[in-house]
C-alpha cells in the first residue's frame, strides 16, 4: 500500500464536486442559526456517497448548496472546474441543466408529460437532442421500456421514481444528487431504486450523492458522511446497514448526554 492511511482511498480519481470551508447561516444576531459550519468535503467521480445525519444536522442544506439549489454564506463550492459562488441565477440554472441530475423525494415528474417526455425534459429545456443509444441503455437499466408512453398518474410510486432516476441519468450529468429518493417508497421499490443508483455508478461510471436518514439506504453507497450540527463528524467506507445504524446510535446518545 502506497497510500497514506486516510479515508481517501481513491485519491487518484478526479473530484466531481468539492465544498471548501462551506458555511450557511440563517438570520442575524441572536436568532442566528448556523446550518453549515465550515464544511470541507470532496465528492469523487465514480463514487456513490450517502450523506447522513439527524434532522437539523444540515445534511439537506449541504446537498442543496453543493447542487447549486441554494446560496451559501461563505466558503466555496465547485462542480468540476466551475466555482458556484460567482455564478448568477441564469448560469446556475444552466449548470444544473447541463451538468447535474436530480432525484427528489416526491414530485419529480410533470403530470402532463409522458414518462418518455419526462426523461428527456432537461435536454428539451436545453434544446439538445438526446443521445439515443445512451437513452436506451438508461431506460433498459431501469426497466421502463414498456411504460414510456404512460403518464405519471398511471405509474406506481416505484415506477415514478425509476423514471426520475432515468431522467437524472439521461443527460449524462457530471454528478447526480438525490434528496431522500426512497423516502416515499415501500422497501421493495426503494431497494430497486437504490440498486439502479448503485448500478449507474458501478456500470455506467456515474457519480451519485444522496441524502438519506435510512441506514439500509446508506448501505448501498461506497461511502457515508455523517453530519451533526452543521459539521462533518465522521465518515465510513463500504458501509453496512448495521454499521451505519450503530454509528447513528452513537451520535444520538452523545447528543443526548452533551
Amino acid at each position: 500500500m502506497t497510500t497514506t492511511p486516510t479515508a481517501t482511498a481513491h485519491r487518484t480519481t478526479a473530484v466531481a464536486a468539492r465544498a471548501t470551508e462551506l458555511s450557511k447561516v440563517y438570520g442575524q444576531g441572536e436568532t442566528q442559526v448556523v446550518a453549515l459550519d465550515r464544511v470541507t468535503v470532496d465528492f469523487r467521480q465514480g463514487e456513490f456517497t450517502a450523506i447522513m445525519g439527524p434532522s437539523g444536522s444540515g445534511k439537506s442544506t449541504l446537498m442543496h448548496c453543493v447542487a447549486g439549489l441554494d446560496s451559501f454564506s461563505s466558503g466555496s463550492v465547485r462542480i468540476g472546474e466551475t466555482e458556484l459562488g460567482t455564478l448568477k441565477d441564469k448560469q446556475l440554472t444552466q449548470l444544473r441543466r447541463d451538468k447535474i441530475g436530480f432525484i427528489f423525494q416526491a414530485f419529480n415528474l410533470l403530470p402532463t408529460l409522458t414518462a418518455a417526455e419526462n426523461i428527456t425534459l432537461p435536454m428539451d429545456i436545453a434544446g439538445r437532442k438526446p443521445d439515443q443509444e445512451w437513452l436506451k441503455t438508461v431506460i433498459d437499466m431501469v426497466g421502463l421500456s414498456d411504460r414510456l408512453s404512460h403518464r405519471p398518474a398511471q405509474l406506481s410510486g416505484g415506477q415514478q421514481q425509476r423514471v426520475a432516476v432515468a431522467r437524472a441519468l439521461a443527460s449524462r450529468p457530471e454528478i447526480m444528487f438525490g434528496d431522500e429518493p426512497t423516502g416515499n417508497l415501500d422497501s421493495r421499490s426503494g431497494a430497486e431504486v437504490l440498486g439502479f443508483l448503485r448500478n449507474s455508478v458501478r456500470e455506467l461510471g456515474q457519480t451519485v450523492v444522496m441524502v438519506t436518514h435510512d441506514p439500509s439506504a446508506a448501505s448501498y453507497a461506497d461511502r457515508v458522511i455523517f453530519l451533526a450540527d452543521g459539521r462533518i463528524v465522521d465518515e465510513m467506507l463500504s458501509p453496512t446497514a448495521d454499521g451505519v445504524l450503530d454509528r447513528m446510535k452513537e451520535f444520538d446518545s452523545k447528543g443526548r448526554t452533551s
Partner: protein, 842 residues
Amino acid sequence: MLRTALRNVLAHKARLLMTVLAVMLGVAFVSGTLVFTDTLSNAYSNQSAKSYKDVAVAVTTYPDLENGKKDQGIDARTLKKIQGLDGVASATGRVSGFAGVADPDGKLIGNGWSNTGANFEPGANGEDPAYDFTDGSGPAKAGEIALDRATADKGEYRTGDPVRVATNGPVKEYTLSGVFTTEDGQVNAGGSLVLFDTPVAQKLYLTPGHFKDVTIAADSGTSEQKLLDAVKPLLPKEAEAQTGKELADDQAKMIEEGLSALNQVLLAFAAIALFVGVFLISNTFTMLVAQRTRELALMRAVGASRRQVKRSVLLEAMLVGAIASVVGFVLGLGLATGLRSAMSMFGAKMPAGPLIVSPTAIAAAFAVGVLVTMLAAWLPARRAAKIPPVAAMSSVHAAPTTKSLVVRNSIGGFITLLGAAGILAGAAAGKDGRMLIGAGAFFALIGIIVLIPLLSRPVIALVRPLISKLFGVSGTLAGQNAVRNPRRTGATASALAIGLTLVTGLSVLGVTMGRAVDKMTTDNIKADYMFTMAGGGSLDTSALTALEKVPGVSALSPQTAADFELKGEWAAASGVTPGDVERLINVTPVAGSLDSLAEGAIAVDDKTAKSRGFKVGDSLPVEWADGKKGKLTVGATYKGNEFLSPVLIDQKAVVEHQAKPYIREIWVKTDGGASEANEKALVDALGQNPAISVMDQQDIRNQFGGMINTMLNIMYGLLGMALLIAVLGVINTLAMSVFERQQEIGMLRAIGLDRRRVKTMIRLEAVVISLFGAVIGVGLGTFLGWAIGQTVRDQVPGYALVLPWDRIGVFLLLAAVVGVLAAMWPARSAAKLNMLDAIKAE
C-alpha cells in the same frame, strides 16, 4: 361560524382581492348609473322649475305657417285683454323660431337643433324679466339683436359688432345691442338664443302683430288655477293654456322618460359586467374551497354539519360582497361625477346641480353586490359541504375535481343546440324573428359557457404544436397546462368570450350596415350636392331661386313636403323638378314615363302603388292643403329608394296650393362635378348662410357612417368593462395555477428551466386561455351578427354581410395582450418561487 368566515376573509386577502375588484366594478357601474341619472334628472327638474318660476299661466298656439292662413296665434288685442285681467301682474307675448348665428368664419354656432330666435319684449320699466343683460341692452329697433352670453363668447362678439344671423329666410347682418344671461333651459343646455325686436321677430316667425305664446305672471295672492280659468275664455279655440306648475311637471316628466332610456342602456352594461364577474367570483371561491379542503374536512371531523360548512362559505361570500359593495359604491359616485364631466366635454352641456344619492341607489348597489357574490359562491359552497371528514387525514395534495363532464356536456350541448336552433329559426323568419334570435342568443351563450370546458381541449390542441415549435419547452408545457383543468380554463375563458361575443356581434352588424348605407348612397345619388337647413328646418324658397341662377348648375330639384290627400288618404308626397330629378337621384321607372310629371301627373313608387292599388293611367281624387279639390293622374311608377318620397309631383303644383312650402332638401348637379370652385359658387349664391349645410356624396355617407361608428365606439367603451373583469379573471386563475404547481415549477427550476422561460410558460398559458375565450366569442358574435342581419336585410336595400376582419384581428390581438398583461404578476411570482420550498415534500 361568523368568526370562521371572518378569519377566512382576512386570511385570504390577496385572493379575495380579485373577487372584491370584480364585484366592485359591477357595483360601481350600477350605482354610478343610478346616481348619474338621479342627479341629472334632479338638475333638469330644478332647471325647468326655475325657468317656469315666474310663470303662472302659459298660453301657446300651434300656427300652421305652410299654408299661409292669416290671423294665427294670439293677436295684440287678446294680449291687451289678458293684461287687463284682475290678478295679472304682467303678460308677455312671445314669438320664436329658428335663428342661427354665424361665427366670424361664417360657421354656425351650435348644432342646428337648439338655435333659437325670439322676441325681446320690454315691460314698463324697459326690461324683459326673462333676460338679464350683462352688457348693453335689448334690441330696440329693426337692425338690432341681443345674444346669450355663451354664444357671444363663442363668436367673440361684443356690443356694437355686426353679427350675421340666419333665420328661415336669407342671412342678414344685425348689430349686437347687448349680451344677456337667462334661466331658459335650452340655453343652459348649450343652445344659442338670438333676441330680436318684437316686430322683427313677429315678421320672421309669424305675422305682424301676433304672438305664438303668452306667459303670464300673477299678482301675489292670485292662484295659478284661478288665473287659468280667467284667461281661457279670452283665447282663440286652437290655443292651449296651462299653469306654470303643469308645464314644469310636464317637462320634468319628459326629461325623466328621456333619461330612463339612458338608464336602461347603462344598466344593461352593468348587468353584463356583473354576469362576467359571476364567473370570476365563482372561480375564486372554488379555488379557495379546494385550497382549504383539509381545513374544511377538519371542521367536519370535529363536528360541523354540512349546512354549517356551506353557510360558512356563503357567509364569507356575503362579507366579501358587502365590502366590495361599499368600495364599489364610492367608486360609483366618482363614476357619476366623471360621467357628467365627460359628457359636457363632448359638448352635451348639462345643468349644474348637487350629486343626488337616493336610498334606492344605495339599496340597489348593496343588493346587487351581495347577492351576486353569494349566488356565485353557491356552487363552491355546496362543493365544500360535500368534502368528507376523512379528507382531513389524507396527506396527499387534493387533486382537482376530475369528475366526469358527461352530464355537464350533455346539458350544455342541448342548450346550445336549442339556442342555435332559435337563432337560425329567427334568421329564417326575417324581421319577425328578432325576439327568437334574442332568446336563441341567450341560450346559445349559456350553452357555450357550459360547454366551454369540453371545447377547451380540441380548440387549444390546434395551437399547441405551433407554440411548441415557437417557444420550445415553455410552449409545450404552457399548452398542456392550459388544458389541465378544463373547468377552470373554461370559467376563465368565459368572461372574455361573453364580452367578445357582444363586441363582435355589434361590429359585424355595424360594419355591415355602414357598408349598406355607403352602397345605397353610391347607387342612388347622382347629384353632386345636397343642401339642408340646420336643425331640420325648411329651406327658404329664396335658396331655390338663388341656386338656380348659379352658372354651371346643370340640374336642380328640391324635395318639398307636399301636403295633400290622395283618394281620401294622406300621401307622403314630395314636390320635385320634372326632368331634373332623375338626373339627381336614381329613379328607375317601372311603368309609364317620368316625363308625365311635367304635365301635372304624379309618379308613385312600386311599393305604394302595390299597397294602394294604383296603376299608371289611374285618375285619383285629390284634396290639396288649401282645401281645393281636383284629380291627379298616375303618370308613372318607379322603383322606390331611401332618398325619394313614395309619391312625386311637380314642385310648381305644390307651390300653387301651399304659400310657404316646406323644402326639406335641395339636390344640385353641377358641370364638372363636385369641386371646391363649384361648392364656393353655390355657397356664395346662398349668401354664405351658416344655417344651410352643404353635403357632397362623401358627407352624406359620413353622416350615416359616422353615426354608426360613434355608436360602436360607445359600445366598445362600455364593454371594455367586461374586458377589465376578464383580465382579473385570468390573473386569478393563473395565480391559483402557480400556487398549485409550486412544486412542479420548483422541480422545473431545479432541473434547469431558467426564470425567463418560467415566465414565458406562464405568459403563454395566459395567452392561450385568453385567445381561446376570444375565438369562442368572435365565432359566436359573428354568428349572432349574421343572424340579426338576416332579420333586417329586407328593410336595408343592398344588404350584404361584411365581416370586419381588421376589427376581429384587433380583438384577437387585444385578447392576447390581455393574456400577457394578466400574466405579469403571476409569471413574476412563479419565477421568484424559492426552489427549495417548492421541492420539499409537503
